[in-house]
Symmetry: C2
Subunit: 373 residues, 2 copies
């Protein structure tokens, strides 16, 4: 945790604990999974309705300001990829929903009470890092060497300050360390042992690398190794990068992204998550973006920065800009998605995979959790 | 060198050797240092002429195509920063000129003979990496731990393929390894020991870290440590990142950047040089960019990608876009510069420091080497 004194930090912890218990009971009830309800409808209607649903997703109206408050907006993702309904049990789906809802509420509570977008995105990402279901923190995937190497980055849209860590092996919350790099060092990006040395100086407790062992991720590695695959093209077993974007009452945007990378990745491989401009970008004049998918393609396109640039230079709408950027990734052969919120509180969440674990706050202040297209 | 068979590679080596000898004799003669000649002119004339010189620099016309050839363009830099005339001896200045001229000719020869922009930028950067005067390869600066950690990246504007290495300690030519990451791995960015393991697999000979020891860089570290500075704001003792941008006869753009980072940097710190979108970007539809300066600011602004985006989304001229991006860096408090070439062969080389080691090929095919504003 370090020794920083941040507003809302302890309030958040308490809120997150309380919500956790409450939400365990409510699992699944309030979750909105539009696609599930649509499956039984004929193909003509399906196409029409999906189109409406998609436009709703890609141009979500901002949350109206409660009396006396300015508008806020918040969205998170838990990774995009091939999410197969046939292998998804109801129990597992409920668990994903619960995890996403805990995370989105952790950030939303901060924003509602007047907290900073930076605190909201960090809080939500930490909840997802601690959840073994998602490929970040505790649930990180394994490298080809059977180790876990975690990456994360965070950006402050007000100052363009940014922090990132890459290839850390003993940091429970990489997003927290990325924030320390941003706020407590003269650097933006620190990798490997150097990042862990910095963590020690900051008083961050290093965890035993065994903390990151999960049977499911280990089996994914074994399976990939048996298939002798070392390719960034397939998106199986890798849909788990997490991220959050927020607009707070002060009009400040922030974005955060954290990941374990891709299963069976080469030791030392750095994906898009810790690369400012690729996996993460935030600029109060435009938008905040967190991306997830085939990291290599996202770096080449410069995904997060590309969305921001379209707003900056072309005055494009957030929905159009975000969709066009994901289309660019698709044209190169890459898959994935992104979440974005602009300075007016609009939200966009395009992806070109069969699903993206995601949640946001609807204009009437409800949490909306979705998985499939 | 690895085992890749690349066209023009051996021709380049021979050409570089020959040029080296010839240019040693010609040192200084053909070099153009506009500012030196301007010093004795009154301030009114100086301002007027400098303005003309600057516009020539920021909007250099493309090299006209020799009969039957399509146009080509080529520029390199050896870093921007506080370059103090008072501490620059004539001998030292001549050595910088000679080094820059060797590098720009190494790339230009390749382009003239119909070679690829990727080969040209790699060749020029390798010449600079081997020259102890520049902060890349042999002349890399020292980290706070007294080690050398090198970063480099390269990008192919035709395919948007990219490769980068970060924090390598035993790689003689980081730009060569970055190219291998691009062409021989499924990844874009590999750091530290993982990058060196990849190098071994590629048959790249690892050098003893002592190879990177130079007395001058060691003294710079000692001096900074004595002053107890650990800040990315001052640009002293760090003006040495190198890079190249090229347009070849086939209309393909490429960019390459290589660096030892900043003196006294924290172990594991990654600057902008290996970050695609910050230090390096190339896209045939827009331009190729290589940046140099306070890496942290360049990452936050997303310098290389920002220039490209202004061309893509706003149809801005290269000179305007490049200058505006450097102005953004300056507004945040950062210093440095960039070199860029667009798809039409225009060249821009703006910087906000007192100097930038740089060279390009003029419209009439001459090498132009410059240091000061």
């Amino acid at each position: 945790m370090g020794k920083r004194k941040l507003p809302y930090r302890s309030a958040l912890a308490a809120a997150a604990r309380g919500l956790n218990e409450e939400l365990q009971k409510e699992r699944g009830r309030r979750c909105v999974v539009a696609s599930v309800k649509l499956i039984s409808i004929g193909s003509f209607c399906l196409a029409t309705i999906m189109s409406l649903v998609n436009s709703a997703i890609s141009a979500e109206e901002p949350v109206p300001p409660p009396s006396g408050q300015k508008k806020i907006a918040f969205a998170i993702h838990g990774g995009a990829g091939t999410i197969d309904r046939s292998t998804m049990t109801p129990e597992r789906e409920r668990a994903y929903h619960a995890g996403l809802e805990r995370a989105v509420m952790a950030g939303y509570e901060i924003l509602k009470s007047g907290g900073a977008s930076l605190d909201a995105v960090e809080a939500a990402v930490r909840v997802l890092e601690d959840d073994p279901l998602f490929n970040a923190g505790k649930g990180a995937v394994f490298t080809s060497a059977g180790t876990n190497e975690l990456d994360a980055s965070i950006m402050n849209g007000k100052t363009l300050a940014a922090g990132a860590v890459a290839g850390v092996k003993r940091i429970k919350s990489p997003i927290n360390l990325a924030r320390m790099v941003m706020e407590k060092s003269p650097h933006v990006m620190i990798a490997g042992d150097g990042a862990e040395a910095f963590a020690k100086e900051m008083g961050v407790e290093l965890v035993d690398p065994k903390y990151f062992f999960t049977e499911e991720r280990w089996q994914a590695l074994e399976k990939l190794k048996a298939e002798k695959k070392e390719t960034p093209v397939s998106d199986k077993d890798r849909h788990g990068t997490v991220g959050a974007v927020a607009l707070d009452q002060a009009g400040n945007l922030a974005a955060a992204t954290s990941t374990g990378g891709m299963t069976n990745k080469r030791v030392g491989r750095i994906g898009d998550a810790p690369v400012i401009g690729a996996g993460t970008y935030a600029d109060n004049r435009t938008c905040a973006v967190s991306a997830t998918g085939d990291g290599e393609y996202f770096i080449r396109v410069g995904v997060a920065r590309d969305v921001s640039s379209a707003l900056e230079y072309q005055n494009a709408s957030l929905g159009d800009a975000a969709q066009r950027t994901i289309d660019k990734v698709g044209q190169l052969g890459g898959t994935g998605g992104l979440i974005a919120v602009d300075k007016n509180g609009n939200i966009a969440m395009p992806f070109n995979t069969s699903g993206m674990y995601r949640a946001h706050i609807s204009p009437d202040g409800k949490t909306v959790v979705e998985i499939y297209k």
